[in-house]
């Protein structure tokens, strides 16, 4: 498919999705909203973790920081400025975390990022209880579901665009090389540390913004809501299902899984975690490279 054709199709899809809330019931707008949020999270996650294979479980740390920034600042300054602050804080946190952890390899990185999410949650809780004497905050912003949805849709489009641009650039090539063999990449002239850090920061900033934009949806926010580790796991599993090495992979994984989780959490609220875990194992065993890679294999197999 030509690049132009793909762009026209993507733009058309974007218009249809943007108009959808005017014609569908509010409940479905809510579903679209949640889905778009996860598409963005999974795409942003895969931007860094896909090619480099540094599996990050810190998604919810940034997501929660974004949401909390909005909760704290929403009455102090205009909304666009609040979003800007959230992005800035997310970026700064990602820089600090990136500089201190991107040396860690494999499972140590996974464990550290998981611990980081928990650490941030505990720190925020401690701060709220001991310093500001609040536990939980209210977010009063004059947004309806569709307003939030449109913001997320725009962010999702930008995220996919960034991911596409990186994939075509020398940066994308360097990232894949780093994922394969950091030593070889370095000897080919790639500044491995800088490239990993750059991508980690871009990815984390987008994730922070997803949390910030979604914050008004809850109205009431507390650490256990916005720092729920399930967000990290769901993002990861969606990206893996679709294929974290491909542009459309995370989207392909996020859409069906979000609908499935939505249905499961309504129908089996008590068993949700168990089912999530089983699905996780199933996906990793059956399709370690994702649906898209699997389809490609099948197609190649059919031709051969």
């Amino acid at each position: 498919m030509k690049v132009q054709t793909a762009f026209v199709l993507a733009a058309a899809a974007l218009v249809v999705l943007a108009l959808a809330p005017l014609f569908i019931p509010d409940y479905w707008t809510g579903v679209l909203l949640g889905m778009t949020g996860y598409v963005t999270l999974a795409t942003a996650w895969a931007m860094f973790s896909g090619p480099t294979r540094y599996v990050s479980l810190a998604t919810v740390a940034f997501f929660g920081v974004g949401a909390y920034t909005v909760a704290v600042l929403n009455e102090a300054m205009p909304y666009p400025l609040v979003l800007l602050c959230a992005a800035g804080i997310g970026m700064a946190l990602a820089l600090v975390v990136g500089l201190s952890t991107l040396r860690l390899a494999g499972v140590y990185f996974v464990i550290f990022t998981f611990g980081l999410a928990e650490l941030v949650r505990q720190l925020v809780s401690w701060w709220e209880v001991n310093v500001t004497y609040t536990m939980g905050r209210y977010v009063f912003l004059p947004f309806e579901g569709r307003h939030i949805y449109w913001q997320l849709l725009a962010l999702a489009a930008v995220t996919l665009l960034i991911s596409w641009a990186i994939g075509r650039s020398r940066l994308g090539l360097a990232l894949k090389a780093v994922g394969d063999d950091e030593t070889v990449a370095a000897h080919a002239g790639v500044d491995v540390t800088r490239i990993k850090l750059l991508l980690f920061v871009i990815s984390a900033t987008i994730i922070t913004l997803v949390g910030a934009i979604q914050a008004p949806r809850w109205t009431y926010i507390e650490p256990s809501i916005v720092f729920n580790p399930t967000v990290s796991f769901m993002t990861l599993i969606m990206a893996l299902l679709g294929g974290a090495m491909r542009l459309w992979g995370p989207l392909v994984g996020a859409v069906p899984l979000f609908l499935l989780f939505e249905w499961l959490s309504v129908s089996f609220p008590d068993h949700f975690s168990i089912i999530l875990g089983l699905l996780f194992i199933l996906i990793v065993f059956v399709m370690p490279n994702g649906v898209l890679a699997r389809l490609e294999d099948l197609r190649k197999g059919g031709r051969a």
Partner: protein
């Protein structure tokens, strides 16, 4: 004319073990020099310190007059030093052409786009992989992976090439092809430091040899003469043969 590579008093310790002890030598531009010695004598450690993979514990490395002693590998690469690895290390998620494109994109002149693709094809053709850019790396035979390793090194447009047992593991006819390739590079004026165990290759390629044993340089000079010296034979084969 100034030296292409100048190593002065290089030291490296691993805990209590002295891996490289006060090693000094120089390579003139366009020279192909063999770095020889039994296993564990410190050859690869010297290579790693030149390419920036290992920090040295003392001494200086200069390339084309520029001090690269404390530089990280990516900066050494951009100074015009390329290397191959003792065990081939192709990047498996990249295609054959992309493996070469990587060095073109991040090497000395940072090529990209159409120009880079043409140059990649040129480098692949040079090593004998013409028209195979779209192939998966995993499908390449061992000699072709060696060729790719060379193409990737050349793609960063080096002035100094470090070949770490690049000819090892080839059968006699492949070895011939490999030696021809290096001779071709020599004809183009490339400076090459060659770690090698295959004496046939050393005799064919190297005007000069540096022999290491237990971390020190024990002999240096014209290849044919150096390989006859008792100290060198003793280092390789033991006392009885000296």
């Amino acid at each position: 004319m100034s030296a292409q590579l100048e190593i002065a008093n290089l030291h490296k310790r691993f805990g209590g073990l002295v891996a490289v002890n006060d090693v000094s030598f120089t390579l003139r531009p366009g020279e192909v020099v063999g770095l020889l010695g039994p296993n564990g004598s410190g050859k690869t450690t010297v290579m790693n310190m030149i390419s920036g993979a290992l920090p040295s514990d003392g001494g200086r490395v200069r390339v084309g007059g520029v001090d690269i002693t404390r530089m990280k590998p990516h900066r050494v690469a951009r100074q015009g030093v390329a290397r191959t690895f003792q065990l081939v290390r192709p990047l498996p998620t990249l295609s054959v052409a992309e493996n070469v494109l990587l060095s073109l994109a991040f090497g000395r002149r940072r090529h990209w786009g159409r120009e880079a693709r043409d140059l990649a094809e040129e480098k692949l053709a040079f090593v004998g992989l013409a028209g195979r850019g779209e192939e998966q790396v995993g499908n390449l035979t061992y000699i072709d992976q060696k060729r790719l390793e060379m193409a990737r090194a050349l793609a960063s447009e080096p002035e100094l090439l470090l070949l770490d047992e690049w000819l090892a593991g080839l059968n006699p006819s492949e070895l011939r092809i490999g030696i021809d390739l290096v001779q071709h590079l020599q004809g183009q004026g490339m400076t090459v430091l060659l770690v090698e165990h295959i004496m046939e290759a050393v005799r064919a390629l190297c005007s000069r040899c540096i022999v290491m044993s237990a971390g020190e340089v024990i002999a240096e000079g014209e290849s044919g003469e150096v390989l006859q010296r008792p100290a060198v034979i003793k280092a390789y084969l033991g006392d009885d043969h000296a």
